[in-house]
Every structure is written in structure tokens, then in C-alpha cells.
Symmetry: C2
Subunit: 199 residues, 2 copies
DNA sequence: CGAGGCCTTGACCGCGGTCAATGCCCGTGG
DNA sequence: CCACGGGCATTGACCGCGGTCAAGGCCTCG
């Protein structure tokens, strides 16, 4: 089961970060279960207690929250080979303020929170794995915060085109806009501006 | 040395998060050295490689970054009993984009990055300590991000008054403003507005 | 072929930033 | 003890980025 092709990507991801022997790897992998998530369906809603960590094998997940006026803000996009979860609720076990949605027909490997924390106790390297995961999540977050507060709409779009073109290629404009924290209208104007002055 | 009064607060902070025996506690504490930081002096600048984790025993440290136009944005304020460091650079060992400055005459306990990571190897509980620290830092960050993108200037100030009045009490307005990510003029207007309509 | 969703474009507007003037507080030196 | 100066807070006038609203066009899919 854990030798199936669907585990290959996850195995590589783990080996990239920590060293574990064959036995430990099997122990880790056997707690991850494959799961299909249909395009547009939502697997975590604000107010729910998040119990799952997801690893994207195929497809794309997005994490977003909703403002009082109903507007969505996309905080994270996970493509093949990336983890995704409503991390704050996963850690604190308080109700989530974030949503998790599949942007395409998606295949994930899911591990339950209890199993995840159980692994922390019995596999020391897994503690390091989580530590590195948290460190990445922190840095990702502060980078976004830094960008939001220092760059204007045009600069944020240019930066995305350069550093993360896959986002623009695979997702509709309205999602890209919410990821850049601007309205679809503004994104549309930025695109036009950049085509006119390719810089 | 490690029994000195200056270590008491740090000892309590550690014991709140993890269980360690006497020996391990001594081992941890002996890597923290007391240090005075004069009011307004800066101990970490953008571009430098951050080598230190600080624990505030007395006083106040702030972490901020500087926008292209020269404006400061305060990202974190650490009072007595809190840790503070330019965490991104501490983790990645790339040049910091953040500054660290004492807002008052401050006494900290400093641990060198190498010693900190050494402790991770030899004291398993220290790995959990760091994991919890990262988790808190992450949650703090995402909370700020969420607030910045969902609340307007007035709401942010009201929330600070309710949840963190110490910031308003101990720090000058221009710092409070930069912490709330607004100009001093706007903060001044919000204060007036709230005094007129105490809500 | 019709309907609905999305993107684009234009007109308008409001929050909050910028700039400048004024006042206040406080430390320092004559 | 008072005069002066510098830093900070406040206030008013102005403005610009980006959001809102509405209309129009295009694509897809049933």
C-alpha cells in the first residue's frame, strides 16, 4: 500500500528534509491516506475544528478567509508536492477562520492530527520535520506580510509573474487577484498596464 | 550564576512550556548571557546576519522594517518575559530585513544561534520548546496579517486598546502608529474620534 | 441558441497618506 | 530661572491609490 505510486512524491518530500530508516518511513507513510477532492469543493470551513494535514499529490488546494463584506482573500496555494492545512486551527485546535478548497480535481494524502502528533512522540526526526515545516510557514507568512505592506498593486503583480508564474497560468483571474490582495478590476488594469509598458 | 535573579523569569518561561530536569535546565540557562541594551540603540540592522535570540528580562524591544520611502513598520514588541529576534534571518542565516531596537533601557538574556541549535540536538525537550515558539510566532503573524487585511484603521486601534493597552501606555505615539501600520496623523485622528464617541 | 459566469473598462469616490503649520513638552545652557 | 531649540503630537487642506458600481463583451456549457 505505502509502496503505491501515489506515495512517491510524499516520500521524496520527507527525505528532502529529514533522514529516517526504512521502518520509520513506513510508519510515517501508513498514517497518510489517499483522498480525492473534487474541483471547487471545500474541505474545511471557518468555525470548524481542523483535524487534517494534506499533502497535494495532484491538483491544487487554496487556503483563504472571508472578510466581513464577503470578499475572499487567498492566503496560500498548494500545488503538487506541497503541504496545505488551516495551520492555526491545526495547532491550537480552536475553530478555524480559514477555508480550504480544491481549485482543480485534486488527489491528496491526508494525515489525521492525532496521528501527526503521535508521530512527533515516537520519531524524533518527525519533530524536526515539523519544526522545519513551521519555520517555512513562518517565513512564507512574513514574506507575504512584508510584500503587502511595502509593494503597491503593480509591483506585487510583477513579482508574482516573475517568481510564481504557475499561479497565473493555472488559476482564474479572480483567484489570482484575491491572492494578491486586490480586486479583480485592479488586477485587470495592472495586466493592461504591464502589456503596454512591458517594463 | 544561573541561579541569579536575572534568570528567574526565563526559567519560569521555559518551565511553562516544557519539562526538563535540573541538569538540563542548568545546561540551557548557562548558554544565556545577560546583556544591557541602552534605550534607542539598535542591535540588529537590515543586511546583517542575525546570530542572537533575546529574552527580555527588563524593558522593551521592538522589531521593525523600513520601507523604500523610509517609513518604519513595527512588526513585534517584546516586553518582560518575552523572546525577540529577527526570526527569519535567525532561521535561514540570510541577511535580515528586520531591525531590532530597545525602546527603553533594557536587560536581555542572549543565546547565540549556534548554542541554540546545539541545544536542539542534545535536549529533546528543547526541540519541542522551539517547535512551540515557532508555532506561536506563526500564529501571531497570521493574526496580524488577518487583522491588517480585514480591519480599518479605527478598528485596529480599538482592538489594540482592548487587547494590548500596555503598548499604548509604554510607547510613544509614533511607534504605536507604526505598529498599527498607519501614519501618526491617522492615529491621532482615530484617538480623537474615539474620545468623541467613546463607542 | 440562450444563460450565466468571468473579464474588462469607465466613472466615481473614500480611506488614509502627505505636506505644512502650529502648539506643547522638556532638556540644556546662559 | 528663564530663553531657546528640537522632537513629537495635533490639526487642516489636499490628493492619489485602489475599491465600488455598473455596463458591455466574450466564452463555455447545457
Amino acid at each position: 500500500m505505502e509502496h503505491a505510486a501515489v506515495y512517491q512524491r510524499l516520500r521524496e518530500n520527507i527525505e528532502k528534509t529529514i533522514s529516517v530508516n526504512q521502518e520509520q518511513m513506513e510508519l510515517i507513510l501508513q498514517h497518510f491516506k489517499p483522498q480525492k477532492i473534487e474541483k471547487n469543493s471545500i474541505t474545511l470551513r471557518a468555525g470548524e475544528y481542523n483535524q487534517w494535514m494534506n499533502f497535494v499529490d495532484q491538483g491544487c488546494l487554496r487556503i483563504f478567509f472571508i472578510k466581513d463584506d464577503g470578499q475572499e482573500v487567498t492566503r496560500y496555494l498548494a500545488f503538487e508536492g506541497m503541504f496545505a492545512t488551516g495551520l492555526a486551527s491545526f495547532i491550537t485546535q480552536e475553530p478555524s477562520f480559514e477555508y480550504l478548497q480544491a481549485m482543480e480535481n485534486t488527489v491528496v494524502l491526508q494525515i489525521n492530527r492525532n496521528d501527526f502528533y503521535y508521530l512527533l512522540h515516537i520519531i524524533p526526526a518527525w519533530e524536526k520535520f515539523f519544526r522545519d515545516y513551521l519555520a517555512d510557514a513562518y517565513i512564507n507568512n512574513i514574506t507575504i506580510y512584508h510584500r503587502e505592506t511595502t509593494k503597491d498593486a503593480e509591483e506585487r503583480y510583477r513579482e508574482l509573474l516573475k517568481k510564481d508564474p504557475i499561479v497565473v497560468q493555472r488559476l482564474p483571474n479572480r483567484i489570482v487577484a484575491s491572492y494578491l490582495n486586490m480586486s479583480p478590476e485592479t488586477l485587470s488594469r495592472m495586466k493592461r498596464k504591464i502589456l503596454d509598458l512591458p517594463k
